[in-house]
Symmetry: C2
Subunit: 347 residues, 2 copies
């Protein structure tokens, strides 16, 4: 039976679904869309388990993208979903100062999910994998109880790692890049006709976050850098996570927050406070880190190496000095988490 | 506020749900129910990524359990679901001849999922982890688009590994344990009042499969053993997977299949052919392997070391000799896959 037309659109010109390909057919197809081999992959996809080589210690993280919770197909293309599914994990490895190496991908789809959607997800995931020299070494495909789910485990290597618990009073609080771009980008993605200043870059920042791997590696080499995490829950919530893990207080100076081009214009269109996005928006996937005073003279060199600005946005203080946001004119208010609860909220 | 009664059943005596605990509350609770530290865990749950040590090469696999596809809460207790979620991955590491070390667990639940269900899943997963000295080093919790999903990535160590592609004509086809017990156990789990001979053990085999780790390690040490995989899709389907990967033919002698106690009685009650379960049932998580003739005199020693019988169930033949099931009286019929397609079928 000739497969050319039939395998394009299924019988009668309908959209071809994953159920028509079947589990093994789909797996065979998807493995052609991502890099599956590379240095250190002694045995990749196709056996009961992959066989891998690590130099030094390994880092391991997993994070999931759920349709209706973390993404919606009306706001992001399938390829963007695939990119994000790997990028959020790459960001975790970046926050440790590690180098990503190997990924395992669990995909849940409905029988009626179009093959082109799954193709798109894997193409995007493959693009992120190639950009960061990651090999996809395992995974599985199964039927979803609802929407599409992409669960990625990412393995990497690390020398010195940046933990969350090393911040000490007297350290500065720093971040890479800008804050609030993903929240603004999400709003703009839901208003595709809106043409505010910098809108395209903000939408792209939401859809295709850039994990700060070069910055993480550069920071991990410096003993003056004492702690780090990535900003996935929101700058304020993540500053609290860091303070909690380190047992310290923190003063976050909102007047110093580096804001992306066009944030104010997007916020005006949305009737929102741009600083609320910068403090509470989440999903920026920048690095939030602490460093001893000696770091100040190294910062510009890190920024040059990593290709991303680094900005001091506050100070680490003793635990009993509390956690505060410093506003314009020296006003202070309690630093409260305004981040995501992935059980309770959806987008 | 006293937490004793309130934290048991929530306000007004309702069943407490995961939404009431929230994402971070749930994570904090679940990490108390599984082993999170152990040798090689330089940094466990709580940071952006775990930091791990491997001796020798690493093996990595991931497999998911989806409510309504792989399990149903009316046929398995939450603790059984948790046990299975790790056990199916342990079985993959066993099939490579590896030693499991570290697990990462993604859990998807609905806001209204009772906390006791999630507790049960993690208790069962923790029991399997303790039984095999596995540390849970990472994971995440998120909202499900439907039922409960438990996705586990398991990392281990290995010396020589057993791949699927090493079978050669002249090798024997062998398996550990018995075939058909999970299919019989699933049927019996759906008929809890049925009391056929051996029913309790069959139900337990379905609900809490025993991964053959000791057998896998013993087999990997023997050069006479040429290939292996675990029987997750069904003895027939998995024999085909092995033959496909190795590029060989296979004669599977169904008269030699080791059948568990009570299989015939359960099949009679179900109006099924016990051999259909043994060939097509799947989810037995035994090891199916091939070995050169010299293995015959080592088999009883492996069985003793591993505490599980090993049985020769057929022969590897040249590719052009085909793939056949040999029945009683020397009749042969084509070996066809009757395994699960996890996209198309549900239970």
């Amino acid at each position: 039976m000739p497969r050319s037309r039939g395998s394009r659109a299924g019988r009668g010109g309908r959209t071809r679904t994953v159920a028509e390909l079947g589990e093994f057919g789909l797996i065979a197809r998807l493995t052609t869309l991502v890099p599956t081999t590379g240095p250190g992959v002694a045995l990749g996809i196709g056996d009961d388990a992959a066989v891998l080589e690590f130099h030094g210690r390994a880092v391991a993280t997993c994070d999931v993208q759920v349709e209706g919770v973390h993404f919606r197909f009306d706001l992001a293309r399938p390829a963007d979903v695939g990119w994000r599914a790997l990028a959020v994990n790459l960001s975790d490895v970046a926050a440790m100062g590690g180098t990503p190496r190997y990924a395992l991908v669990s995909l849940l789809v409905r029988p009626e999910t179009p093959v082109r959607v799954v193709d798109g997800i894997y193409r995007g995931l493959g693009a992120a994998a190639r950009a960061h020299r990651v090999s996809v070494v395992g995974g599985n495909v199964s039927r979803s109880p609802g929407g599409v789910v992409v669960d990625v485990t990412l393995l990497g290597e690390a020398g010195r790692v940046l933990e969350r618990n090393g911040a000490r009073p007297g350290d500065g609080l720093w971040m890479t890049g800008t804050a609030g771009k993903a929240a603004a980008g999400l709003f703009l993605a839901s208003r595709p006709a809106l043409r505010t200043r910098g809108a395209a870059a903000l939408r792209a920042a939401y859809r295709r976050p850039s994990p700060r791997l070069a910055a993480g590696r550069a920071l991990a080499k410096l003993r003056a850098v004492t702690a780090a995490l990535d900003t996935s829950d929101g700058t304020a919530a993540d500053a609290l996570h860091l303070a909690d893990a380190s047992g310290v207080g923190v003063l976050l100076d909102e007047t110093r927050l580096p804001l992306p081009d066009g944030l104010a214009a997007a916020a005006r269109a949305a009737g929102r406070d741009p600083l609320a996005w910068a403090l509470g928006g989440g999903e920026d996937y920048e690095l939030l880190f602490t460093a001893r005073p000696a770091f100040a003279r190294l910062a510009s060199s890190v920024a040059r190496t990593a290709g991303i600005p680094v900005t001091r946005i506050g100070d680490i203080v003793p635990l009993d000095a509390g956690r505060w946001i410093l506003g314009a004119g020296g006003r202070r208010r309690p630093l409260a988490a305004a981040g995501w609860d992935h059980l309770a909220r959806s987008r």
